[in-house]
């Protein structure tokens, strides 16, 4: 039996669009409002806070993918959103970023998305 969660997405939005991205997750995710706690991976060009962007990375069902695609087709994605769709073997299938068009069909991990956007994970002091 194959999983219903066929698509692995890396989603990155500017900090100003984080709330809109979380609302989108609440709209298309199976958990409804509980999905709003996504996009807690802080990013910035320097790796220092404050975050300039936030990311979420996870798997979507086909229904969720279609819902996301419909939002994108309607031009209603959060402003500045970048998305990368991979299969379960982490092969890039599609992206709204022309800069990675040549990488479709090849391996693509979250750090590749970061490299594409010239961003790094940003952290507060751990201690």
């Amino acid at each position: 039996m194959t999983t219903a969660w066929l698509h692995r997405y890396h989603l990155i939005v500017p900090a100003a669009a984080r709330e809109a991205a979380q609302s989108l997750c609440a709209a298309i995710g199976p958990g409804g409002e509980a999905e709003r706690v996504s996009f807690d991976c802080a990013l910035s060009p320097s790796g220092e806070l404050p975050a300039t962007h936030f990311a979420a990375s996870g798997q979507l069902t086909e229904a969720m993918r279609q819902a996301l695609a419909a939002v994108a087709a309607a031009g209603q994605l959060p402003p500045g959103a970048a998305w990368y769709r991979c299969d379960l073997d982490d092969v890039l299938v599609q992206s709204n970023r022309p800069s990675v068009a040549e990488r479709v069909g090849g391996p693509f991990a979250f750090q590749d998305a970061l490299a594409d956007l010239e961003l790094r994970q940003a952290f507060e002091p751990a201690w």
Binding site: A4, G29, D40, G58
Partner: protein, 274 residues
């Protein structure tokens, strides 16, 4: 092997199967049992790459859960170690939390394959943390630090004032292990001297350098708090790792039982002890 007993009873004893000690287990998460796609535990995990929203303990009523976004759920992966499955944390935002785990003295064992640095950077990652920020709160953490060493800290007392902490040195190859499957084990008896971490063994601690002034004897007072698996507070420092099994005992095991647990897990998962 030094613990073989010779004589007329040797055959019977040698044939006895090696078992995981059962007395004192407060949490046992194993990737082939008790996995559900949703946090409520209504839809079992059935296929490779299914999300894991809930992971029930094999002992007691505790469970790990990701109550929030489905994007933050780790995933179930079949046939990862000795034919057995694992739960994969992506190092971006995946995390599970076990609510209200009480720990006094403890022994903790993880069969895992961490990836560090993860996602291409050397920032600290928290594969395990019991209560947030042991700098100021009682708890424990296992950490991959941003200088590629590993450290573990236990704190007790008001504001976590009594701390015991060790780190590996950058030159010490016996860290918690990155990129390969290993049995990580932490023993804590309430004292700094009795606090040690091991990888694929039980004789030579991997970390012998005391962290800063963390050389107190925190004691065996019980701390009941959330056990975070894969992050700090489901919000940051996400660790990239495959986790096949996590077993926690409180109070801590005896030395004999500690070795028994390490041997058992190494045998089940086909990991060579050093």
């Amino acid at each position: 092997m030094s613990d073989l007993i010779h004589g007329p009873f040797a055959c019977a004893l040698a044939a006895a199967p090696l078992k995981l000690p059962t007395a004192g287990i407060v949490l046992r998460l194993r990737a082939d049992r008790g996995l559900y796609q949703d946090a409520a535990g209504t839809t079992p995990v059935a296929s490779n790459a299914d999300p894991v929203g809930r992971w029930n303990s094999m002992v007691g009523a505790l469970y790990g859960t990701q109550p929030g976004s489905s994007l933050k759920r780790p995933t179930y992966r079949t046939a990862q170690v000795n034919g057995r499955p694992a739960v994969r944390f992506d190092g971006t935002d995946d995390a599970l939390q076990v609510a209200s785990l009480g720990l006094g003295s403890f022994s903790m064992f993880a069969v895992w394959k961490p990836t560090y640095p993860n996602n291409g950077d050397n920032n600290p990652r928290f594969p395990i943390e019991h209560s947030a920020t042991p700098n100021t709160n009682p708890g424990l953490n296992l950490v991959f630090s941003n200088d590629l060493t590993a450290l573990h800290t236990v704190a007790r007392g008001a504001s976590g004032v009594n701390k015991s902490g060790y780190r590996t040195t950058a030159a010490n190859a016996k860290d918690f292990g990155t990129g390969s499957w290993s049995v990580a084990a932490v023993q804590y008896d309430g004292t700094h001297a009795g606090h040690a971490a091991y990888r694929n063994g039980f004789t030579n601690p991997i970390s012998t350098t005391t962290v800063s002034t963390y050389n107190a004897n925190p004691g065996t007072g019980t701390v009941t708090d959330t056990l975070n698996i894969g992050s700090r507070n489901n919000a940051s420092f996400f660790a990239q790792m495959d986790l096949a099994e996590l077993v926690v005992y409180s109070p801590a095991l005896s030395a004999t039982r500690f070795k028994q647990a390490v041997r058992y897990l190494s045998r089940v998962y086909g990991i060579t002890l050093t």
